[in-house]
């Protein structure tokens, strides 16, 4: 069974993934809307930036985040000036890293959902006297609900599964930055294979369940679409 240390890592992972999902959805919604509707020449560049975490080795991302959050880095200087100290090897630093690392998993499903809706429902709402923000909240958001569910599940699962970034900027501090993936790594390093098995097996089941749910949802949604 899971040891107390393992449970601590599980709860920390869930906390990190939940916070990342909530904050990232808030951040990704306007970004995805902009990407889905803008004709700005910046669109391609911003889209590429958002997608970068998909292709970059997590160590590269982690390395630059570590530099940025460190005492000499711009982010580090800012947080120091505000009296928070540096963020590297803290839970907050880990949260920022997770948000950046999972950005495409939230933005892209939302962007696709907004693009699929098109401009027509918003035009219809405008002809029915809805102000732009009103139309966005009462028409675009409900119509994009499947995209939000997909984005939330993917973000959560992806955050649970991250390893490289965590190791680079979080270290492996129990109760602060030690999540399931780094915990498993620790067990293996220490040759505690039984402990590693329990955690790794749980992760395997969790990941399979997430993908199964997503697949079922997508087939149901595609049947519902006209």
């Amino acid at each position: 069974m899971l040891s107390e240390a393992a449970w601590q890592a599980v709860w920390l992972t869930i906390e990190l993934a939940s916070l990342t999902t909530i904050l990232l959805l808030l951040l990704a919604t306007p970004l995805a809307w902009w990407l889905g509707h803008t004709r700005s020449p910046l669109r391609a560049a911003v889209g590429a930036l958002v997608a970068l975490p998909l292709v970059l080795p997590p160590t590269v991302l982690g390395f630059y985040l570590l530099l940025a959050m460190g005492p000499q880095g711009p982010l580090g200087q800012l947080t120091q000036a505000m009296g928070f100290g540096t963020l590297s090897f803290t839970f907050s630093g880990l949260l920022i890293g997770s948000i950046i690392y999972s950005l495409p998993f939230a933005v892209q499903p939302l962007q696709h959902a907004f693009e699929a809706i098109g401009t027509r429902p918003m035009e219809v709402a405008a002809t029915l006297r809805a102000r732009p923000l009103d139309a966005f909240l009462t028409v675009a958001l409900p119509l994009a609900a499947p995209g939000f569910i997909t984005a939330a599940i993917l973000t959560f699962a992806h955050t649970v599964g991250e390893f490289g970034v965590v190791l680079m900027i979080g270290g492996n501090i129990p109760g602060e930055t030690q999540v399931v993936s780094t915990q498993i790594y620790g067990y293996v390093e220490a040759m505690e294979y039984a402990e590693a098995h329990w955690l790794a097996g749980s992760m395997l089941l969790f990941s399979f369940a997430v993908l199964l749910v997503l697949g079922l949802m997508n087939s149901r949604n595609s049947r519902l679409l006209p």
Binding site: E123, A126, L128, V139, L143, L224
Partner: protein, 362 residues
């Protein structure tokens, strides 16, 4: 200079031509914007709604300025008291029919009389039985009727309809046309109706604005425009006149019905139309011939005394189009130019029109 009640002037450069229109339309009835695909009809509607911004233009509806480049006025769409029915059914799929109908209603300022309006719109379009359904549970025709009711519920000063029947099959179009006729006859809201269908012009139009490559080539009451000889406007297969009439009598022995119009009457096949029903009659120019004296021994059942208003050359050099006034009503006749010379036809001459065929528009 007096400003017309409903006036639209728009100048908008487009990829293939410049849209440049300037016209007025009456305070009630259906004003049809008619023309081939790509003539700029939908663009005009979108500009009037404020969905597209013609930098150079003026839109005055019901005496209110919605847009005017001189006073730098441009109301955003949501502040224009209009209703818009799009070509494809555009109900919100996450709401049921009732919530769709109430969406606009809830956002109109003076909602005091709103309920009555909604009930009136539901009754007017016969959708009371659909209120709990969702969009995907409705037929195409039902969706468009709900969309029209949703637009009407906000009590718009202007109803814009962009080819509302184009996405429907023949049967559904036939199903929804009577509802549109009812709107035209019972509402005091003016409607701008975009179509390239001759059938819809003949059935629905009270006013006709004919567009070609972004320009207005003819504008006026539909009977007037269709009987024009200077700019012949052909809807359907041939030029011809349109008459508003009422079924007034029937001859059961010969299966004929008599339709009276403001200055005469015509016999047509009796299809069982209800007595007193308002009908539109279409008389093609090729079905009208002219005699200078009243014929007595003829198989033609419909003879109308007329005065020649104008004579214009037709598409072929052997033919002429003659515009005839029969009291308040207008007819077109296609005759050979040799007949014009032989009968000494000229403007102002009193003649008899023999009408070989009258079609009921339905």
């Amino acid at each position: 200079m007096t400003v017309a009640h409903n006036h639209i002037r728009l100048v908008l450069p487009r990829a293939d031509f410049d849209l440049d229109v300037d016209f007025s339309f009456p305070a009630r009835g259906i004003s049809v914007l008619f023309g081939p695909s790509g003539a700029g009809k939908t663009t005009i509607l979108r500009c009037v709604a404020g969905l597209e911004h013609a930098a150079n233009g003026r839109v005055i509806i019901h005496g209110e300025t919605w847009q005017d480049q001189h006073s730098n006025t441009f109301l955003p769409t949501w502040r224009r008291p209009l209703g818009y029915v799009f070509q494809e059914p555009s109900l919100f799929s996450h709401l049921d029919v009732r919530a769709n109908l109430e969406y606009g209603l809830r956002r109109v300022k003076a909602a005091g009389t709103g309920r009555n309006n909604l009930d009136a719109a539901i009754e007017l379009l016969g959708i009371a039985g659909l209120l709990k359904r969702r969009a995907h549970q409705l037929s195409g025709g039902e969706r468009q009727r709900v969309a029209i009711a949703r637009a009407l519920a906000t009590q718009p000063q202007l109803l814009l309809l962009d080819e509302p029947l184009a996405a429907l099959d023949y049967a559904r179009r036939r199903e929804i046309l009577p509802w549109l006729e009812r709107l035209r006859d019972e509402l005091s809201t003016p409607m701008l109706y975009v179509t390239h269908s001759a059938e819809e012009v003949a059935r629905l139009a009270s006013q006709l604005v004919v567009l070609e490559r972004g320009r207005v080539v003819a504008v006026g009451a539909v009977a007037e425009v269709l009987a024009a000889t200077d700019v012949p406007v052909v809807i359907g297969e041939d030029a011809g006149a349109l008459l508003e009439a009422r079924i007034a009598a029937r001859d059961t022995q010969w299966h004929l019905a008599r339709a009276d119009f403001d200055s005469g009457s015509l016999w047509l096949r009796d299809n069982g139309m209800a007595m007193g029903r308002k009908v539109r009659l279409r008389i093609l120019a090729r079905d009208v011939s002219i005699t200078s004296e009243q014929p007595h021994h003829t198989s033609i059942q419909n003879l109308l005394p007329c005065t020649i208003e104008s004579i214009a050359p037709d598409s072929h050099p052997s033919q002429a189009l003659v515009r005839l006034s029969c009291g308040q009503s207008l007819l077109l006749a296609r005759v050979t130019r040799r007949a014009v010379a032989g009968l000494a036809l000229q403007t102002g001459k009193a003649v008899w029109a023999q009408v070989k065929s009258v079609a009921l528009v339905e």
